[in-house]
């Protein structure tokens, strides 16, 4: 856990900006979907914004990120330009991936976002490979891979943490433990009480943290990233959090006890972090200005996405292989 003292206002505001960009983007996205302006499957990260913001603030711009279908918080917090990301979500030809990937498959190497996978757990083995390239290259990059609690039950998790440890790879495994995998609570799917109990099985450095606490999350992330960058190997971070809109937008969360949901909402990390900043003498005006700037960015990005063109059907033949294939 790093010193809260060392987090200066600039850093705190940086996290604020990242988190609220996610927050406002998510709100806009849900509205557009619910109003029928956008027809996509959407895995809302509402509730996990602070986790992503604090985590990404601990990274260099060119550090690598691998994430999942529930990844817009990670992607925006890592720095993918809003309009490119929005266009990809809308399947437009000027999206990050020319509309070919879509929301579950965002890639944006300029900001280090190398893979977004729709297959539970499958980002972890790939993250090891990115980290291996950095180790061999000596480029000083760290790879962060995000995944859910339920992903810790799949084989790829096991193989990856073990390999990362024996090869001392500069990789940070961030389990965003939102307590449910689709509609199944952790207790029903997981033999151990705490996911961090799995770490000793790999001899891997590990830390459990409240992911919704920006200070704790940033500290855990920074320590892990520093550790990796110094050549000391991987870390497993279990970051506790919650998702407010269930698995897939439209999910009524019937499987979540009402009290649990109420408690989670009462502890909403977005207002909590704002309050914490106000406590630290950062002014309402400062934060409002950031919010306003974000609102503009989100408005512009979403409008841009909706107004943009779909890709040329001929794109189907490109990028299957390096050489374009015949019609």
């Amino acid at each position: 856990m790093s010193d809260v003292e060392t987090m200066n206002d600039e850093l705190l505001l940086d996290i604020y900006r990242r988190a609220n960009l996610v927050y406002q983007s998510d709100e806009k996205m849900r509205n557009l979907i619910l109003s029928g302006s956008l027809q996509i499957l959407y895995y809302s990260p509402r509730g996990q914004e602070i986790l992503a913001a604090a985590l990404m603030a601990a990274l260099n711009a060119d550090d690598y990120l691998v994430t999942t279908y529930r990844g817009i918080h990670d992607q925006l917090a890592k720095g993918i330009p809003s309009s490119d990301l929005w266009a990809e979500f809308a399947g437009k030809g000027n999206g990050t991936c020319k509309g070919k990937g879509g929301p579950m498959h965002i890639t944006h190497p300029e900001t280090g976002v190398m893979v977004t996978t729709g297959i539970v757990g499958s980002g972890m083995p790939i993250a090891n490979g990115l980290a291996l390239s950095s180790q061999l290259e000596g480029d000083g990059k760290v790879t962060v891979v995000c995944f859910g609690d339920a992903a810790s039950n799949i084989g790829a998790f096991h193989e990856s943490l073990n390999m990362a440890q024996i090869w001392k790879l500069p990789v940070v495994f961030v389990c965003q433990n939102n307590l449910y995998g689709e509609h199944t609570p952790v207790a029903l799917s997981t033999g151990c009480d705490e996911l961090i109990d799995r770490a000793p099985g790999y001899g891997i450095r590990a830390v459990q943290v409240n992911g919704n606490d920006a200070f704790a999350m940033y500290g855990a992330a920074k320590a892990a990233v520093d550790h990796a960058r110094a050549g000391n190997g991987p870390t497993f971070i279990e970051a506790k959090t919650f998702r407010f809109f269930g698995h897939l937008l439209g999910d009524d969360s019937h499987y979540i006890p009402a009290e649990e949901m109420a408690a989670a909402k009462a502890a909403d990390p977005i207002p909590a972090y704002r309050a914490a900043l106000l406590d630290r003498q950062i002014t309402e005006a400062t934060l409002d200005a950031i919010d306003a700037q974000i609102a503009e960015e989100v408005e512009a990005a979403s409008a841009h996405a909706l107004a943009s063109d779909y890709p040329d059907p001929a794109e189907l033949r490109r990028d299957v292989f390096e050489k374009e294939i015949a019609a």
């Binding site: 509309g99 579950m104 729709g118 199944t184 799917s189 779909y310 794109e315």
Partner: protein, 335 residues
């Protein structure tokens, strides 16, 4: 008017058909059990709702929500099958079978043979897939050709709810491992209801429409498109027979050859990418057996050679289209 309404045959959706098949099987045989992610009612009865109500009726011991552990799911199903159970494993989407291929191919498919017939694996794997619904590259693949190439596995899929019910029931009650493929976009699509208990035999194709000039052979959603094309073509004086394989592997070679022996022209259609797909086997078998009878080369229709794209424009460009079937029929007829 009211009499007519009464005579209207009852309808059912694919989702209901699949649910009923499992319900009937569970009622019939206490050794029929289910495993899969989120399949019990507390978790919503499966992402597509296919198992809704079954855990309430038969208990969570028999309808088991699992961790996200597809190897463990299929493996547990294989083991229970070896001990005489008839497990139905739900692999939510077909692309996720890629993490469980070892259990399916090295174990389920081979254990009867490798044990010299001492054991068997009466297991059914249900899995959904298909493009056209914006699921993108990792949730839409049609991989039936892989399973068809593996001796020891049976592969089935339905073009209408009644067949879905009858085929799934046959799969569950069959003593060999079966892969039953469902279409992600079709759970809500309805058709005439099946009779309670009715089974559709594995390995038998169905003539979905009789015709004289050309046989369109397929399975799953393309059958509806083929029937529509046949209807259109009739106006132009082209008589199209539509043959629904229903069981993809081992497929009804006799049924296929009987139809094409009559029509002397054939088109094979599936949603899977054309190259190295099921259509290649069907085309080859026709060509090998009816070389001297064929009036035109067997035509193959499939999706484009690319991963499934997300953007709707590209996804439609990727997917085989009704028009492709019509074009292939015309090409066969005009050769």
């Amino acid at each position: 008017m009211s009499e007519q309404a009464v005579k209207q045959p009852p309808a059912m959706t694919f989702g209901q058909a699949i649910n009923m098949a499992m319900d009937e099987a569970m009622a019939l045989d206490r050794r029929v059990i289910m495993m899969g992610e989120d399949i019990a009612d507390d978790q919503g009865g499966g992402v597509f709702g296919a198992t809704k109500g079954l855990s309430a009726k038969y208990g969570v011991d028999r309808v088991r929500t699992t961790p996200i552990s597809e190897q463990a799911i299929v493996g547990a199903a294989v083991g229970a099958a070896l001990a005489g159970y008839r497990p139905v494993a739900e692999i939510m989407l077909m692309n996720f079978v890629t993490v469980a291929m070892d259990q399916i191919v090295n174990h389920a498919a081979k254990l009867r043979f490798m044990s010299g017939g001492q054991t068997s694996v009466p297991l059914t794997i249900r899995t959904a897939t298909g493009a056209g619904v914006g699921f993108g590259g990792q949730h839409s693949d049609m991989l039936e050709a892989w399973f068809a190439h593996v001796p020891g596995l049976k592969v089935a899929t339905a073009s209408n709810p009644a067949d879905a019910k009858g085929l799934l029931l046959s799969c569950i009650l069959d003593n060999d491992p079966c892969i039953f493929i469902e279409n992600s976009a079709s759970y809500g699509v309805s058709g005439p209801a099946a009779e309670p208990g009715a089974r559709v035999p594995l390995g038998k194709a169905a003539v979905a429409r009789e015709g004289e000039d050309v046989t369109v052979i397929g399975y799953g959603p393309p059958i509806a498109h083929a029937l529509a094309v046949a209807e259109e073509m009739q106006a132009d004086g082209i008589s199209v027979e539509v043959l629904d394989l229903r069981t993809i592997a081992p497929f009804d070679v006799e049924g296929v050859l009987a139809s094409v022996r009559k029509t002397r022209r054939a088109v094979v259609v599936h949603e899977a990418v054309r190259a190295f797909g099921v259509g290649a086997e069907v085309s080859s078998v026709i060509h090998e057996n009816l070389f001297d009878d064929l009036k035109a080369p067997v035509q193959r229709v499939g999706s484009a050679f690319a991963p499934v794209p997300f953007s709707p424009v590209l996804e439609q460009a990727f997917l085989y289209q009704r028009q492709d079937i019509a074009d292939a029929v015309l090409k066969a007829v005009k050769h």
